[in-house]
Symmetry: C2
Subunit: 360 residues, 2 copies
Amino acid sequence: MKRAFNFSAGPAILPVYALEEAQKEIVNFKNSGMSLMEVSHRTPLYEDVHNETISLIRELYKVPDNFDILFLQGGASSQFFMIPMNLVHNDEIADYIITGAWSEKAIKEAKILGKKTNVVATSKDKNFNYIPSELKFTPSAKYVHMTSNETIHGVQFKKLPETNGVPLIIDASSDIFSYHIDWKNIGAIYAGAQKNAGPAGATIVIMRKDLYEREKETIPTMLRYSTHAKENSLYNTPPVFTIYMIGLNLKWLKSLGGIDAMNAINEKKAKYIYDAIDESNGFYKGHAEKNCRSLMNIPFIMKSEDLEKKFIKESETLNMIGLKGHRSVGGLRASVYNAMPEEGCLALANFMKDFMKKNG
Amino acid sequence: MKRAFNFSAGPAILPVYALEEAQKEIVNFKNSGMSLMEVSHRTPLYEDVHNETISLIRELYKVPDNFDILFLQGGASSQFFMIPMNLVHNDEIADYIITGAWSEKAIKEAKILGKKTNVVATSKDKNFNYIPSELKFTPSAKYVHMTSNETIHGVQFKKLPETNGVPLIIDASSDIFSYHIDWKNIGAIYAGAQKNAGPAGATIVIMRKDLYEREKETIPTMLRYSTHAKENSLYNTPPVFTIYMIGLNLKWLKSLGGIDAMNAINEKKAKYIYDAIDESNGFYKGHAEKNCRSLMNIPFIMKSEDLEKKFIKESETLNMIGLKGHRSVGGLRASVYNAMPEEGCLALANFMKDFMKKNG
């Protein structure tokens, strides 16, 4: 089999190691005569997988003890409402930094719930191609919400903002486990698994324990963080296979040397492609400003749609998949998450140069 | 490998066919060079899986055209609140039939939301060992909620109640796809996948289209049925692998002859075990009354806990897994979902007879 270089934004490429391990075990898990998918979540056989995955997250991401690590469902999209629903009451205010399509979706759900929100800053004036530097936080805000990496617009915070004690809540769906986190100001980090952590079907929520202490009993049981925290994410049946795959992903990440090592590799990988853009004399134009270029998602355009279509068609014959850009930015997008091998980025960069030579 | 006879209540046994197909394809799906778990949900490669699974449900379950078939997340436990949240407004009333632990959980969430509920009937007086026959519906109720099969108490409706036009909403988590449904009075049927439909991680909701027409815009986007119905359950990233596994399950079900054929097999399978109970002269005592015995979950007790422990220990040496009962009923429980082979039930029945001879 020839592995595709899969540049899709999500669901996205997974480490071959994780897929091959899953293949070995999917019919007969640990010689139990059962697939892990068949195992009751109330037995040690599954609980070991569950707890090992949580431990790996805590170890690799250096999550402090006053944070819970939860596995929920419903994607990051469900966190958009769960956060304001649980953490903001009555006249309290929530701050939002708007840097792209996903942070816009997040604030929209707070507004649907009738919560008071304050936009700290927005980069909408330039179709979200930069990270605002002037951030005016509300001192009494219950949290500041931000999207650390905008998958569609390809902008990424290079440094977490100083919030002066207001808990920072980060949608890290597209860059979780890709760089070291300073947990000092963090209230919560959450991520849909299907970009940088595993397959679709689980949402990782890492939340400071004191944040959900004020949860109200008028909120449905399943929508309270405390429900899941108290039961170690086993209040109801968790998505066992997705959690298992996240565990395999993290074992692979650990074998590479952990998150700092991964970050260094990611810098190198993205550089191949950004260099190809920068050295193209405008043949390729990146969407994001240079100082906030994402290491995960690289959207770029060319001078015509016809040329872009030709690029995509030819890239597919070279086994490069998923390079079509999102409609709101257009053009092309290369998503180069943790699991994208260096040779994939190199192959794309070389193809970009080659394509320019022939069509420039 | 020796396959276990897995009598767990959920996650539960799956057809070997589905596991082996998944094993073949998990690294390289349809020669794409990718796992299905890596494929974007916005591409034909995944959309074909998604739509084929929906079509199989519609075909095998004979779902009328005025119903949508949705894949949601968060388990049946999330339906407990989504249903009253979306379908009951202001002073409107929802009816509930209480036949066990799961229907109790369902009404609890309606009450948390402050909705007006009416208990049509309850069998709590006898620890939920029967299905009430006197059902007093509220003529103006927006729906009647019932749990068609109570996993813990092992009672199952043998006939759907006549509701005189009030939509019946059925939690069929533990008996979906096990018998033919007359859709006449149905408003919705929902089920967590992990008992009778596939692995954990998806909730199947089959809902009459007019039910969600009155949904309010003050409800978070992800919690409205209309959001998912409009987008064919692709509003956000669906749990792709679980949906794929549900599809494989249904292909297997179709190959057996469909739901009526499955029902006949299930009758035969459960009879082995109920006969062993009935012919034991009280050595084994079933929890449910005979006229509502579940074909899916068979809880029974013995005269002492020590004997029950001995039974479980010996059954495990014979490769029978998951026979410990739920704490609220005690004793033992054999879950014999669609995927449990006949020889598993026969093996258990024979072991029961053998164990009685030695310990009776």
